[in-house]
């Protein structure tokens, strides 16, 4: 800031050009009204402008399409499934020696499994379990992570160090291994133990992310400005710091949904999931198909494809969400 007005003038001009370039390229909806001012229609929040960018993004549309289809199918599965997924309707077609897996036939487009249960119905109803486990684990992980992250980010000092060391220890264990150990120590494995095991793995990720983002926001100008207005500490944290720190956490949550689904499938595959095989679950179906992998690969292919497509849908959605909320692309 050496008083060299010629230089500052040139700099200022450069900045203004950069601003104009940014407005022309970055947000096509804003119109330049002179002096680098951007006028937008009233009542447009940041979320609305992010949504406007998202609507045009084919990656987001594909991801959101897959996710929506998955959620809708999972919810209405019991009604649209052609048969009861728990009943061995084709049991009489199962020949232990010659043909253990009944092929497709009228009314059973994908055939049945080794117990004569309709494969399509099992896949459809299995989506439900996957959705419950994925969402349940993410929500619990999010709540736990946000609580820890907020404590660490708001208090700092030894509270921060203490929480972050615990988080570091948890992060240093490979996530699947941690989830497996947690699921394995459960006395009676059930759907709930799977959800909890995966949620606990996710807690440190969210905690660390929120804490880091809060630290960055805490030293920002508007937080200093709020403090200069005498705003109470709690209001500074909850109104000024946290809402500005959540964007990366929300993005992470969509991506974590994908991981949670894969982890849940992995746990079931390894036999650590719900032992009750009357409730179909993709990972468990995948595990059961191992035996017949050589002659009947389709039995493994369908549940695996479902897992991959759903995980891909969440990942695509999360990635495009991250892009849309990224302050660098917003400038």
């Amino acid at each position: 800031m050496t008083p060299n007005p010629l230089k500052t003038q040139a700099d200022r001009r450069k900045e203004r050009i950069d601003d104009l370039a940014a407005t022309a390229g970055g947000s096509p909806s804003g119109t330049v009204t002179g002096a680098g001012e951007i006028e937008e229609s009233p009542g447009v929040s940041l979320i609305a402008s992010a949504w406007r960018r998202l609507r045009r993004n084919p990656v987001f549309l594909v991801g959101a399409g897959i996710t929506l289809a998955f959620v809708v199918l999972a919810i209405i599965a019991p009604w649209i499934a052609p048969h009861d997924p728990t009943q061995g309707l084709l049991l009489d077609k199962v020949r232990q020696q010659s043909n253990p897996i009944p092929g497709s036939e009228p009314g059973f487009p994908l055939g049945a499994d080794n117990r004569g249960r309709d494969l399509l119905s099992r896949l459809l109803v299995g989506a439900q379990q996957t959705l419950i486990v994925g969402v349940g684990a993410t929500v619990i992980g999010l709540v736990g992570g946000l609580t820890l992250g907020t404590l660490a980010g708001a208090f700092g000092g030894w509270v921060d160090s203490f929480i972050m060391r615990i988080v570091d220890v948890m992060l240093s264990i490979p996530s699947l291994l941690l989830a497996m150990s947690l699921a394995a120590v459960a006395a009676r494995p059930s759907q709930m133990t799977v959800i909890l095991a995966i949620a606990i793995v996710e807690i440190p990720i969210f905690a660390r992310l929120l804490r880091g983002s809060m630290l960055a926001v805490r030293s920002s100008d508007h937080v200093l400005a709020a403090r200069a207005l005498g705003v109470k500490q709690s209001a500074v944290v909850f109104r000024h710091i946290i809402p500005n720190s959540l964007a990366p956490v929300i993005v992470q949550a969509t991506i974590v949904l994908a991981t949670a689904i894969i982890d849940a499938a992995a746990l079931s595959f390894l036999g650590l999931g719900n032992p009750d095989d009357r409730k179909p679950e993709w990972g468990q179906m995948l595990g059961a198909s191992q035996e017949f992998l050589g002659d009947h690969p389709h039995l493994a292919f369908y549940p695996a494809a479902c897992i991959i497509i759903v995980a891909l849908g969440f990942t695509l959605m999360g990635e495009s969400l991250r892009e849309a909320l990224d302050p660098k692309s917003r400038r």
């Binding site: 800031m1 050496t2 008083p3 060299n4 007005p5 010629l6 002096a35 680098g36 001012e37 951007i38 006028e39 937008e40 009233p42 009542g43 447009v44 929040s45 940041l46 920002s220 100008d221 508007h222 200093l224 400005a225 709020a226 403090r227 200069a228 207005l229 005498g230 705003v231 109470k232 500490q233 209001a235 109104r239 000024h240 809402p243 500005n244």
Partner: protein, 344 residues
């Protein structure tokens, strides 16, 4: 003249001064590092309705001074000494809670960058009412008309609509107006403006300065203007303190100070501004060197290595802030005698 005369005079001023900063000293101390004195014994008074300027280049301690007055410096690693007298209480001896109650109510502050100083996810109206809710105990509902009135007062057109707008929907000038509205919502007695126009266009700068001037005159708020821009000082301040290396090196009323600057640093600051009435092809005269060349104040004049007027004593003895007999205070062994020649 000696230092004691300054004390006598400040004693007299003190009764009418609203904010009186005495011997403020801010030291940054990192573990295992040499402590750094950012503000080194700064004293000045501000009376109601008066505007006092703190001028200097980057790193001279202007912003740290303002943060120290507001109590916004972190407790850890920073030592603040001296006295900041506000209506009989020493702000530096107040607890964190007491200072939180005062900030926004008794002391307001506006910042350099209006965009980053507003919370991007909260509408303007909520940010203005927040101050009123906090200090006046008003409900959101009761505070909204006051906030609208405030926005109107600082010259934001269509305030009803703007209350619902988010910061990114406002232009730079509007944002700075909104910040001023927030800072003045509870009618603080002292307003500290830390480079309020630096991030704005020249035309907007003039509007914001005019607005500040009007508000100060109307409400009798004391304004501390912190800037590196001498144009701002010339247009607004009643008295000017020129800071160098954490110390005040020259102090005077605006007109005499600009007409005949006597400290070589002030002369240098004025000399490095381009002038419309200068001869064509005339070169600007920048101050050579940078703040990093400074000598320690303990045993020399910090400015000596960059000073065209430096004499032997400048590197050997610390100059004191003394009255030159005409109401001008100077910290210089060899002040400029006939300043008009030096400033062209």
């Amino acid at each position: 003249m000696t230092e004691t005369i300054e004390n006598v005079q400040t004693q007299a001023n003190r009764n009418e001064a609203l904010l009186s900063v005495r011997d403020l000293r801010v030291t940054f101390q990192r573990h295992g590092e040499k402590p750094f004195v950012a503000v080194d014994g700064v004293s000045f008074d501000v009376r109601p309705g008066e505007t006092v300027g703190l001028v200097g280049e980057s790193g001279c301690g202007k912003s740290v001074t303002s943060l120290a007055i507001m109590g916004l410096l972190p407790r850890r690693g920073v030592k603040v000494e001296g006295e900041v007298d506000f209506q009989g209480t020493d702000l530096l001896r107040q607890s964190d809670d007491q200072m939180r109650d005062r900030r926004g109510r008794d002391l307001g502050m506006i910042f350099q960058d209006p965009l980053s100083s507003l919370n991007p996810v909260v509408p303007i109206g909520v940010q203005v009412t927040e101050v009123l809710e906090r200090h006046r105990g008003m409900s959101r509902k009761a505070a909204t008309p006051v906030a609208r009135e405030m926005l109107d007062k600082v010259g934001i057109p269509d305030p009803e609509r703007r209350l619902k707008d988010y910061p990114h929907q406002l232009s730079g000038g509007m944002r700075q107006r909104a910040l001023i509205a927030m800072a003045l919502a509870c009618q603080p007695r002292v307003l500290i403006a830390d480079e309020p126009t630096t991030a704005l266009d020249v035309t907007i700068q003039a509007q914001i300065l005019a607005l500040l001037k009007d508000l100060v005159e109307d409400t009798g708020t004391a304004l501390v203007m912190i800037t590196h821009d001498l144009g701002v000082v010339a247009g607004l301040c009643d008295r000017v303190n020129v800071l160098y290396g954490g110390k005040i090196v020259e102090r005077g009323d605006r007109h005499p100070l600009f007409a005949s600057p006597r400290h070589p640093y002030t002369v240098g600051l004025l000399g490095s501004i381009p002038r419309l009435d200068g001869t064509r092809g005339e070169r600007l005269t920048p101050i050579p060197g940078s703040v990093s060349d400074n000598l320690p104040w303990d045993s020399a004049c910090a400015f000596a290595p960059r000073c065209p007027n430096a004499i032997e004593v400048c590197r050997e003895a610390r100059p004191e802030l003394l009255d030159d007999g005409g109401g001008r205070w100077l910290r210089c062994h060899n002040p400029v005698e006939n300043p008009l020649e030096v400033t062209r």
